[in-house]
């Protein structure tokens, strides 16, 4: 299969001021996603990191319209999909896919793998040849299994006969069935053994090379995101606190939170450096701290941090951070 090199200057996905709030009893609101804006260029991998409960999965599901956004807009390939009806959205679903965290729960235990993989082909017509014939489906399924590295005999088997890693390969194959452009991977490896994690990440990387895919790769594990992402967005309590090229963000983090997260990655040669690893728990998204939401856990918090929420601003070209005292600036002062 020859795929033209993706046009890396083209913006494939653009998110503008996305909000997702839940009304709770007692007039409380839970802001799961709070005013998030970012864009993903074609062919790049945006890693979305943050502690559990920071809203990254909610964001991922909003992007695919699996959850309705409260306000803001999502543009896919220039088209606003935020408020499209399910019927109008259906053709676009072929181009936008998701890989879920729980590889077993996302496969119907009562259906054979061949049946599961064929389902998307049965409901979507081929853009050129029209309705998929049985032969076309068989050919496509064999192609997909080869692509994700599963034996062809898998088609006749049921999900419970596979290991976690194999099931995730099946999920990836299913997401690829309709040749999507964008795949949102929601913690696709966090439920797997470390050795299997590496295989699946490599598979994601290989597939990206072969098929020119674009990923939004959600994970709570920086070391996973570091392996695959071209850019990283760090989320804290529903907002993006830092976004930039992977190397820049992970080696010269500008936000204290990012810095503390990077400290949590075990390193074989270097000892502990810089800020201590993060302590304390993430506050409840129902009653978020005033001002900068991170101030109760931040070693550099000043009076202004408690009062005023910092905006997401450039510290360098293509490196944005929302902090009153970004670490880049601090380093200059102290060094």
């Amino acid at each position: 299969m020859s795929i033209p090199a993706p046009d890396t200057t083209k913006t494939l996905l653009e998110v503008r001021h996305l909000h997702k709030t839940y009304q709770l009893p007692g007039r409380k609101t839970l802001k799961a996603v709070d005013d998030i804006s970012f864009s993903v260029r074609q062919g790049e991998v945006l890693g979305l990191v943050g502690e559990s409960g920071c809203g990254k999965s909610t964001l991922g599901r909003c992007l695919l319209r699996l959850l309705p956004a409260s306000s803001g807009s999502i543009l896919f390939d220039g088209q606003d999909i935020t408020r499209l009806s399910e019927r109008k959205l259906r053709p676009l679903r072929q181009r936008l896919q998701m890989v879920f965290q729980d590889s077993s729960a996302s496969l119907n235990p009562r259906r054979r793998i061949g049946d599961l993989l064929a389902e998307p082909l049965r409901v979507h017509a081929d853009p050129i040849n029209g309705k998929h014939t049985a032969d076309m489906i068989t050919a496509r399924l064999t192609e997909l299994l080869d692509l994700v590295g599963l034996p062809r005999s898998a088609l006749e088997r049921y999900p419970h006969e596979f290991s976690g890693g194999q099931k995730q390969r099946i999920n990836i194959a299913r997401a690829l069935t309709l040749s999507p452009q964008l795949i949102v991977a929601d913690e696709p490896v966090s439920a797997l053994d470390v050795s299997v994690q590496a295989q699946i990440i490599n598979l994601f990387a290989d597939l990206q090379d072969q098929l020119g895919l674009t990923y939004v790769f959600i994970s709570h594990d920086l070391s996973v995101v570091r392996q695959i992402s071209t850019r990283v967005a760090v989320m804290y309590l529903g907002s993006i606190v830092e976004i930039g090229e992977t190397d820049t963000v992970l080696h010269t983090p500008a936000h204290p939170y990012t810095s503390m997260l990077t400290q949590a990655i075990p390193h074989p040669t270097k000892g502990k450096t810089g800020l201590p690893a993060i302590t304390g728990d993430i506050p409840s998204p129902v009653s978020r701290p005033s001002g900068c939401h991170f101030h109760p856990r931040c070693p550099y918090a000043q009076a202004i941090c408690r009062e005023k929420a910092p905006a997401l601003e450039n510290v360098k070209p293509s490196h944005m951070v929302s902090c009153h005292f970004p670490l880049v600036a601090l380093q200059k002062i102290y060094v």
Binding site: L64, L66, L89, R90, P91, R93, Q94, Q97, M98, F100, D102, A105, S106, L107, N108, P109, R110, R111, R112, E119, P120, V123, H124, G149, L150, P151, S153, A154, E156, R157, Y158, H160, E161, F162, S163, G165, Q166, N171, R174, T177, L178, S195, V196, Q199
Partner: protein, 339 residues
């Protein structure tokens, strides 16, 4: 790469969860005994018209008060004088130990053993049909309420609550009293009062809340399941999700409920027939037979006990089978076994 890729998924031939469940069930002695007992009773009853006449040599439905049979060379009257000092009144003959009147006669001089078989046909047929109809209605209600949720769910669930608030037997008796005289008219269709469809419909109806509730619960869980989200994400239309993703998983609940519902239906049918509100004479069922035996309970208890025991055996067997099915179909057990 490593073993994750190279080894085949599992060396054994692929088995569906259904087949695995069947294997577990086959290995379960209790369930298999229950199934065997059930099969024997059902076959004996269903095949009654083929053999009962040749064994019993009487008509199970004709009154035989004046008749007599030959036992050990002596001619014996079927209705015999009572044992009391004054020899007042007549009692039907007791168990004979011969194929004719094996279990004795009832107050009409009819062979109890033969009637047990013919009555069983009606009892089993009504309870099985009522269970199937009830499962069908419950699936409609439960799946609609569970999948669509919101106001649809509220209306259906409250309706079920109202029905469930009325004691099941009281409800069934009330409905039967209405239909027992004039039959049932549904649109252009009229069902005669003595038609067996009437107890079937009534029993199925009163047990709908009992079965619809677990179905609704299961569907609500399935609706949130990640594979349903995954299907939506793939752009699978709702009706396909319902038909191919939700329903096959609801089927387990239905299969488990089936025998239990049949047991409940059998009890309800017997209760209604005992009160002359179910199967109407001249047709028989185990319930009407118990009623026949009520007047003879002190002199010839076997007339009431025989159909009573038949009910007990069938209900017990159905409950044991239901439990076995539930254990065998438990998906957690199934996946645990596969590892």
């Amino acid at each position: 790469m490593t073993t994750d890729l190279q080894t085949p998924a599992s060396p054994a031939p692929s088995v569906s969860l259904w087949r695995q469940a069947a294997r577990t069930l086959l290995a379960d002695k209790g369930s298999m005994t229950a199934l065997a007992v059930l099969c024997i009773i059902v076959l004996a009853c269903l095949l009654a018209p083929l053999y009962a006449h040749y064994v019993a040599h009487t008509d199970a439905f004709a009154s035989n008060v004046a008749g007599s049979i030959v036992l050990n060379g002596h001619e014996v009257d079927i209705m015999q004088p009572n044992d009391n000092p004054l020899h007042l009144g007549l009692s039907p003959i007791g168990p004979t130990g011969h194929t004719a009147y094996l279990l004795g006669a009832d107050s009409q001089g009819r062979d109890i053993a033969a009637r047990l078989l013919y009555g069983g046909r009606n009892s089993l047929m009504i309870s099985a049909c009522a269970a199937v109809l009830c499962l069908f209605l419950s699936t409609l209600v439960g799946v609609t309420a569970g999948y669509f949720g919101g106001i649809t769910d509220s209306i259906l669930s409250r309706l079920m609550d109202i029905m469930w608030a009325v004691p099941v037997y009281l409800f069934a008796i009330s409905l039967s009293i209405i239909t027992v005289r004039h039959g049932l008219q549904i649109g252009p269709f009229t069902i005669e009062a003595d038609n067996l469809l009437i107890p079937i419909i009534i029993i199925a109806l009163v047990y709908v809340p009992y079965a619809a509730r677990p179905v609704r619960g299961r569907v609500m869980v399935l609706r949130q399941a990640e594979f349903v989200t995954a299907a939506r994400c793939l752009g699978v239309p709702q009706w396909r999700v319902l038909l191919f993703d939700i329903l096959p998983n609801v089927l387990i609940t239905l299969v488990v409920l089936g025998p239990l519902l049949m047991a409940l239906s059998l009890l309800a049918e017997s209760a209604l027939s005992f009160l002359s509100l179910g199967v109407q004479a001249p047709a028989a069922s185990w319930g009407t037979m118990i009623q026949d035996g009520e007047g003879l309970i002190y002199s010839r208890p076997v007339v009431a006990i025989a159909p009573g025991l038949a009910i007990v055996f069938v209900v017990l067997a159905l409950n044991i089978l239901g439990d076995g099915l539930r254990d065998a179909l438990d998906i957690r057990n199934a996946t645990r076994r596969s590892r």
